[in-house]
């Protein structure tokens, strides 16, 4: 084995890999500046309509406080008799499920003949700081489910949760199993300590941060802030990949601005990212202490509204979809948890890409909606 190089030798060896000349660098950077200049002109010509997200035709069918329940207009004459309710997370807005017409989970499910509802959790204000997880699960979510049950005449509906919405859906299915016919979870953290078994560089920041805080820190955070400001929550997500965000808003823009389709997709995603709601404080307190710190959900020790969330009550079929490149919810926090549920019909499906890529990524798009449609369809 050769001895390690000192810095001078290393610099010299590294330089040997570079075949950049003054002329080539000048030409390349001039071309890049030209692309940016053309991109700036394109930006000036964009209309609001082109930037609109979540445009699927829909009707508001219920509301309470800041929460809204929407029914997407079916695109077939006789939709599947059991409706699907989609519950997104509180840390982002529901628009991710219908970001663009050709990258829309909702539209794909509608095209597969389903009757699709989704919840918009809205923008919680200071008055909502005291909302706890149970207020969402046994309150808003339960009311939404009841509305859909009444409208469809079904005892149980198909429930699909995304990330934090997946946790809420899991809790709901355990507390109200008679109202859930099938449960689908996507990029949902279930074993919040899963990352300890399989540590991954660049994944599971939230797990590490939450556990490095004391319970007193969490209490102080919630007491001091009331609700976690949306910008602060968003910033925490961005700081999981700080260097990528340096390139995202600089050198990566060169190619993005040069491609019309990429540009629109990029801007719509930015619009979604920028619309980050505040996070109710009491939900955050429980989320960090009971789940990230004490991992109570998977151990069936979580208590909501005086009732224990026992995962063995989940006897309906469960589909668990996780993203193989998820750094926000590490794979180890989602995968391999079937034995904790009370069902015999448990399916796990990996999709390529990251946490958000599951819903908008090219490869994942080809798997996600078809898998859901086939799975729900096969189970009535």
């Amino acid at each position: 084995m050769s001895p390690p190089l000192d810095q001078a030798q290393l610099l010299s060896r590294a330089a040997a890999a570079l075949s950049i000349t003054a002329e080539s660098a000048a030409k390349e950077l001039e071309a890049a500046r030209g692309k940016l200049a053309r991109g700036l002109k394109k930006l000036a010509e964009l209309s609001e309509d082109e930037l609109a997200i979540a445009t699927v035709p829909r009707d508001e069918v219920w509301r309470e406080d800041m929460v809204r329940l929407y029914r997407c207009r079916p695109v077939v004459d006789k939709p599947h008799p059991v409706p699907i309710l989609i519950a997104y997370a509180l840390v982002g807005r529901f628009q991710m499920i219908d970001l663009e017409a050709d990258r829309s989970l909702v539209r794909k499910l509608l095209a597969s003949g389903f009757d699709v509802y989704f919840i918009d959790w809205g923008l919680p204000g200071r008055a909502q700081r005291w909302l706890g997880i149970d207020d969402y699960v046994s309150g808003y979510l339960d009311r939404c489910v009841d509305v859909i049950r009444r409208r469809s005449g079904r005892d149980g509906i198909n429930l699909m949760g995304i990330c934090q919405g997946g946790v809420f859906s899991t809790c709901y299915a355990a507390l109200f199993p008679q109202k859930v016919r099938n449960l689908a979870l996507t990029v949902t953290p279930l074993d919040f300590h899963g990352d300890r078994k399989e540590p991954q560089v660049g994944a599971g920041y939230m797990n590490g941060w939450a556990r490095s805080m004391t319970t007193q820190d969490v209490d102080d955070f919630v007491d001091v802030y009331g609700s976690a400001p949306g910008a602060l929550v968003g910033f925490a997500f961005l700081m999981m990949n700080p260097v990528s965000h340096l390139t995202k808003y600089s050198t990566d823009l060169i190619d993005v601005l040069d491609d019309d389709a990429k540009l629109l997709g990029f801007l719509r995603m930015e619009r979604w990212i920028a619309d980050r709601p505040d996070h109710p404080g009491e939900v955050l307190r429980q989320w960090l202490k009971d789940l990230y710190q004490e991992n109570k959900l998977i151990r069936s020790r979580l208590v909501l509204g005086g009732r224990t969330v026992d995962l063995r009550n989940i006897t309906m079929p469960v589909l668990n979809i996780y993203a193989t490149g998820d750094t926000i919810v590490p794979v180890s926090c989602s995968r391999g948890v079937g034995n904790h549920f009370g069902t015999d019909d448990y399916t796990e499906v990996p999709v390529p890409g990251g946490h958000i890529g599951t819903f908008v990524g090219g490869k994942a798009q080809k798997i996600l909606a078809p898998t859901l449609a086939e799975w729900f369809g096969a189970r009535g």
């Binding site: 290393l10 660098a25 008055a127 400001p229 808003y249 060169i254 009732r307 969330v309």
Partner: protein
């Protein structure tokens, strides 16, 4: 919360990332001044397109500066370009290139730290600095003059004149002064935590540059070549990102992050205490008191929900949620909101 309020926080986040662009691209050219004005940013663009346009214009300008800086370095060969780059790389300069501009890491990290301060609502880091400096200088001066620290002085002063002050109605002012002192102490602790965090980030950037050199050397050994400046920047980013992850996910990184959060919270808490004293003095409801009203409203809503559930046929698994003792189990079922009247054909 209105859309504009929501955008306010997001704009602060964009300000942070965009503020780093000149430093980020500047480091590859040894921090030469940015190039000419570039293409003008179109006006009246919707949010966040306006931010992306700003980012594109800043990148364009920085690339021009980079081209100007690289030209002379590349005339004398690639090693000079790398050496120039290494000089600009945080702390790497100390170990290998003694004549580097040591202000570089601070310049690069300043907006980072400022945003952490802004995003947690404690005000900008930079504007606070003079106040903290004043506070510290005051404390230092007091110690030198009396041989005691400010807390001891205050205690002695309070014993002597405190009751008299209260007697003539200066109690709140004394409380306010004590609260202000607490805020300043918390601010100093906050700056210390930020400095520790910044050192950690610097370390990660140093490691990132080292990794880049190692990766390039491996390419050279394999007979591969990098012929693009932008590809080289992407390589730097990938290697540095990995180093940042390793550093911030380490025990030390997590502890520094927790300390940073803790110090921000302590500072905010002390500031709130000061605001509470002021609110009390001017007979205004404090935010905490409003929060208590919200808490009671939420408790009543829960009670109502539990009452509804008690009258419902759909009992949850694990039993019904307990009702508060004051709750009547026979409370009238709440009617569905009018909008619920819609039918499937809506």
């Amino acid at each position: 919360m209105s859309a504009s309020e929501s955008n306010e926080g997001s704009r602060a986040t964009y300000d942070f990332w965009l503020g780093l662009i000149p430093q980020f691209l500047g480091q590859f050219g040894g921090f030469a001044p940015a190039g000419g004005p570039g293409t003008a940013v179109p006006e009246d663009l919707p949010f966040p397109v306006d931010q992306i346009a700003k980012a594109a214009a800043m990148t364009q300008q920085s690339l021009e500066g980079l081209a100007q800086a690289l030209a002379p370095a590349l005339k004398t060969g690639v090693p000079d370009m790398l050496a120039q780059w290494a000089k600009a790389s945080p702390a790497f300069a100390f170990t290998r290139f003694g004549d580097a501009d040591t202000a570089t890491p601070q310049t690069m990290l300043a907006p980072w730290l400022a945003l952490m301060s802004n995003s947690t609502g404690t005000g900008g880091a930079l504007p606070q600095a003079p106040l903290q400096a004043m506070s510290r200088a005051w404390a230092d001066m007091a110690s030198r003059v009396t041989g005691a620290n400010t807390a001891q002085m205050d205690t002695a002063f309070d014993r002597t004149y405190g009751a008299l002050s209260d007697g003539v109605g200066l109690g709140p002012a004394r409380k306010l002064q004590a609260a202000w002192r607490d805020v300043m102490n918390a601010a100093v602790a906050q700056q210390d935590a930020r400095a520790q965090y910044a050192i950690l980030v610097q370390d990660a950037f140093v490691q990132g540059f080292q990794r880049l050199l190692t990766a390039l050397a491996a390419k050279a050994d394999a007979g591969e070549r990098v012929d693009s400046v932008l590809a080289l920047i992407r390589m730097w980013a990938a290697n540095t990102e990995h180093a940042v992850h390793e550093t911030l996910q380490s025990e030390r990184g997590l502890a520094a992050t927790a300390a940073l959060i803790r110090s921000d919270l302590a500072h905010r808490k002390k500031t709130q205490q000061m605001a509470t004293i002021l609110a009390d003095q001017f007979d205004m409801a404090s935010r905490r008191e409003l929060d208590e009203a919200f808490r009671e409203i939420q408790a009543l809503k829960r009670e109502l929900r539990a009452s509804d559930a008690a009258n419902s046929d759909d009992a949850p698994a694990g039993g019904r949620a307990p009702l508060r003792k004051s709750t009547s189990a026979k409370r009238r079922r709440r009617p569905d909101p009018a909008i619920d009247a819609g039918r499937d054909d809506a």
